[in-house]
Symmetry: D2
Subunit: 270 residues, 4 copies
């Protein structure tokens, strides 16, 4: 066992689970097919001659459900995807050959938590609050951290506390806190690989505005090729006061899709 990674892992690592549990009825964006799960076969339905039985599952769902990652193919601007490809032509065949979620490599990267309520001394950011560049910089500086190229940056608004409430978490009427266009530029300027948040649309939604205008998506996905992770559970990470970690995120390798449910982990050796 000469591999130092395996040596570390064998010595014992721990993780904080940043993914939401996938359940029928969980809150989600009305823009996407909802997650439904059923058991077509249960034990007791039939038994083989040898006394064995197998139960199984049936699922229908969008990919932008639960905690999930947006592929670059998800969003276009003025008819173009990231890199300039014609967005309509790119989807021919019912799949995105070029920028689909299958092109997102699994991530084992430095993760940084920017805890805005922790910075501001509040429980969570207010409905529709736009997290400013000053907020982001102060949250990093408070922990002595710098956001660097290739990092995965997770912005905590505290809104994830409302996940169990359902519709209020989606916040179509109330608005939802998050970064705006300025914050997206700040992240892109630092060369981050992906950015995530504990809300359903990642970025700030103005009260009453629904999910229709998403400038941070444009900046990150289209202009800079930065992946977006949504509906993260960042509460335990904040409680544990961990702000720098190994982020492990493995998208499903769905050929040509615009996103994938994921279960990111913040992993620690000590």
């Amino acid at each position: 066992m000469s591999d130092p990674l395996l040596h570390l892992v064998q010595a014992g690592v721990r993780y904080v689970d940043l993914g939401r549990q996938l359940r029928t009825g969980m809150p989600q964006s009305p823009n996407h097919p909802a997650f439904h799960h059923s058991l077509p076969r249960r034990h007791g339905d039939m038994e083989r001659a040898d006394g064995g039985s197998a139960a199984n599952d049936m699922i229908s769902t969008g990919t932008h459900v639960g905690t999930h990652i947006d592929a670059l193919a998800h969003v276009s601007q003025d008819g173009r995807l990231h890199g300039g490809a014609d967005a309509r032509e790119a989807g021919l065949g019912g799949r995105f050959d070029e920028l689909g979620v299958h092109t997102i490599a699994p991530m084992l990267r430095r993760g940084v938590l920017l805890d805005i309520p922790g910075l501001l001394g509040i429980e969570r950011c207010a409905d529709g609050y736009e997290i400013t560049v000053a907020d982001l910089e102060a949250a990093a500086a408070r922990r002595g951290l710098e956001v660097g190229a290739g990092d995965v940056v997770l912005v905590r608004s505290g809104w994830g506390q409302r996940f169990a409430e359902g519709a209020p978490y989606v916040g179509l009427d109330s608005g939802v806190p998050g970064i705006g266009e300025a914050g997206a530029h700040w992240l892109a300027d630092r060369g981050v690989h992906a950015a995530g948040a504990d809300t359903i649309a990642f970025e700030r939604l103005a009260p009453g505005g629904g999910h229709a205008t998403l400038p941070a998506h444009r900046v990150l996905l289209v202009e800079h090729g930065v992946y977006i992770i949504e509906a993260l559970d960042l509460e335990e990470l904040a409680r544990e006061d961990r702000h720098e970690f190994t982020l492990v995120l493995i998208p499903l390798n769905i050929y040509g899709a615009t996103g994938s449910p994921v279960r990111p982990l913040a992993v620690f050796a000590q």
Copy 2:
């Protein structure tokens, strides 16, 4: 950055992807709903006032599709699940509260590849060949490895070379190579945490026998609580001649389901 794991990761790690790509039409067991993907919205369908557009996905699928992991709730014997719970009662409510796939913790563990064709000096094991205990022991000994408690053991038959052929990979008529009941006991006796293979049913299928009799599933899932991983892609790992590694496997956290598609990685620091 004092965490040694993060230090290693920042220094650079690499991985071999052990998961199959999820595509409509890929081979799969006829026992489960097939994987289907569609784009309900493509770019060009509508554009918002600001020039933005979002494409999205719709998926219907079983959970035992592509590379996937079996939860302990998947199989019962004589009406009982692992640990003795009544299998029929356990599924009440349309979900397995106790042994569903949500109870499988993400894995960062020692992985061991037992390469049987490599051992036998053949391209791949024959249709319906039962991989013996002697094969397993010799494959480990050849690399100076021991299978230990908590390990994830991946048994390569070479059958994965046929994945692209479709129906022949499923092998309903031909039979499929794999371990049998004896091999399952050998793995369970060593206290492995999970066991995987490059075939659709993990264990040996006799020619003409279909998928009806699965003694290794009984031994591992029901009698010993060992998870099973199916339809792995082990070809690259064998080509690279890597037999010991850090196995990273993160099931989707689907409440109460009997399995989950996964994309396991074999990760190396050097």
Copy 3:
């Protein structure tokens, strides 16, 4: 052409369509998987050598969506289905062999419209209004009609005017008008074959009560074996002032299901 039915049909019949159009996003009960439609293949995705191309569909849905019929297997009371069968055992195998929707014969029957707003001289019944037995009797008497054995009786509340509004049509908070337990007994006493309404739950929902208590379902489905049709569009029929007609309703023959979307027609020879 000696068949008198064919003679009539050839001479010309007309119909009023009583079914709602199935569309992604239409209002529906939160108790059931929503209707989603997508085109996996569109024209332009690929063309065969001979210049031909085929587009196709993918649907995920419950069966209690849009205008639909409830099979007797849908509801149980105190663990029993209509006729006394054990309700839990009846669903073994993941299907209802006995009282599933496949056991509902296609209907070509006398249909009777009982137009309550027409009777009361109002646009539509108020939120949560319980349509009384006196209302039902007066609506029939006003047209000189009697409800008879084997008829299909459609009770119009006018609530169908709100279908296009979405959530208000579902009425989880507001309540929804309809018959109650007394009205259900009145219908059952007359030996009707099926009963329908222009609301999502057929029967009256008290304001704030959600969809949890459904006594008319118990009386009709469980106690008397009378099918229930929900989310009908009865507006045009009322506008045309037609109260007696040939009702044609053909459920999908889904083996073992608890319901089916339907598109009932009121047909007239003149």
Copy 4:
């Protein structure tokens, strides 16, 4: 009760069901998502305070499954739909606004059965047999019938006897009997409204040719706007020796879809 249609119906009509039962695992074209049904909730899963319980369904499916009808939007030729519209533009938005299945009016029309095995004195037509114009004309003449404008013509090959066999019914390797391009022109020349058959692709499939070349689809759907009905069960109708009847066919009103499962009835007054 002055309506003569209602008078006839009340006097008693009977029907022969021409639709196949929808069941998980039934044979179907590999070009379309398969039909899957599950019960997310069964009785016994939970009981309301009042002792009531509701079971429900979850379905994922294509629309070209079981007995079904093809909308005109299903097929294009050289980039054009029936009437000349650009086929790619017509599907924008993920739905066919113009020629989708929602534009097929429910049918109460003269139906004519052309029983080819009955004519030829055989059990069923051979694999890949092309039913000729002479066959069609002789089958009609034998019963003294003429095919007229607006009729729905059902061509029986006897292949429906194989439905229960599964894959042989689909006939990808063997070929399947049916009309060819000449037969399609003959039907179109007579101005039929729709044409159906007891096979999965309606038209003749050459042995070894798969489902790739479908000239009768082109002639009927694209060139003449004649609907196609597939996978009919015509066995009972032939056994009863009924060749002229009232055909009742009501597609689901799925906005923008390319087809719909249907359950057509042949109805008789006497």
